[in-house]
């Protein structure tokens, strides 16, 4: 059962990223990415990380992709992007991607191989919250500062009047 869910979610996720590469319409790209991130949220749930799954769906598939769609609306590009002509570039990118994938796969499987420590008991949301507000308290507070800085920065960058 878990395997079936895993296979369906990963195939959907990888498939929609592939569709994003093939499609030339930016709005379609953004919607494909919403699908990919939702499936990824499901995969997070399979990994016993319910909070990360919820945050993934809310923040990524919800907030960030809506932001992208708003940006696409602002650009108001009428014609789809012209067909990419450079075969060589695509080929080089494919070779780079393959090499990178092989490297990542080898590194990941190697990191898992030795010992494979017995997983500790599930800590659940309570453990996560405790960790967040004790050991990682400074990081948590700095994150709030970072978000404030991003907010002000975005206003300062994009909030100017035309030609100012």
């Amino acid at each position: 059962m878990a395997w079936a869910v895993f296979v369906i979610l990963s195939v959907l996720c990888i498939g929609s990223v592939l569709a994003m590469i093939v499609s030339r319409n930016q709005a379609h790209n953004a919607l494909f990415l919403v699908l990919a991130f939702s499936c990824l949220g499901g995969l997070f749930g399979l990994l016993d990380a319910p909070f990360a799954a919820a945050a993934q769906v809310l923040v990524y598939a919800g907030a960030i992709m809506v932001l992208f769609l708003f940006a696409i609306m602002m650009f108001n590009l009428r014609e789809p992007a012209p067909r990419e002509k450079r075969r060589l570039r695509t080929l080089l990118a494919a070779v780079l991607g393959l090499v990178l994938f092989a490297e990542l796969a080898v590194a990941g499987l190697r990191a898992l191989a030795p010992g494979s420590a017995p997983p500790a008991g599930p800590e659940g949301l309570a453990g996560l919250g405790r960790l967040l507000f004790t050991e990682y308290l400074y990081a948590f507070e700095i994150t709030s500062l970072l978000i404030l800085a991003a907010l002000v920065g975005a206003l300062a960058l994009a909030g100017k009047k035309e030609g100012a």
Binding site: A2, F6, S10, I14, V17, M20, I21, Q26, N29, L33, A36, L40, L43, F44, L46, L47, A49, A52, A55, Q56, V59, Y60, A63, I64, L67, F68, A71, M74, F75, A81, E84, R89, A93, A94, L96, G97, L100, F101, L104, A105, G108, L109, L112, A117, P119, A120, E123, L128, L131, L132, E135, Y136, T143, L146, I147, A150, A154, L157, A158, E162
Partner: protein, 100 residues
């Protein structure tokens, strides 16, 4: 019980596809989306490792990554909007002032 290695493989495929999309696509917005795909692949790998090692710290780090990614998306999109306002294009093959 799915082994964490399977999740790691999916994460590796996603990351490689993100890099591929970044180099193939030529508009800034889609390239930016490709960066988000790579970030998510990293998150998946972190969670798989957290499951494999039984440490909850991985999940905390994933939360931070998601927050930082949100901030990064806001600033990046603001910059892209600025570029579009000045040049009326976001195609990277038309933005080549820095090319010698």
């Amino acid at each position: 019980m799915i082994p964490p290695g399977a999740f790691l493989l999916v994460a590796a495929v996603l990351f490689a596809l993100g890099v591929l999309a970044f180099f193939i696509k030529k508009d800034l917005l889609t390239q930016f989306m490709a960066v988000e795909v790579m970030l998510n692949a990293g998150n998946l790998a972190l969670l798989a490792m957290a499951k494999a090692s039984g440490l909850a710290a991985g999940q905390v780090i994933v939360l931070f990554v998601i927050t930082v990614a949100a901030a990064e998306a806001v600033i990046g999109l603001a910059i892209i909007v600025l570029i579009f306002r000045q040049r009326r294009t976001i195609r990277t093959d038309e933005l080549k002032d820095l090319r010698g």
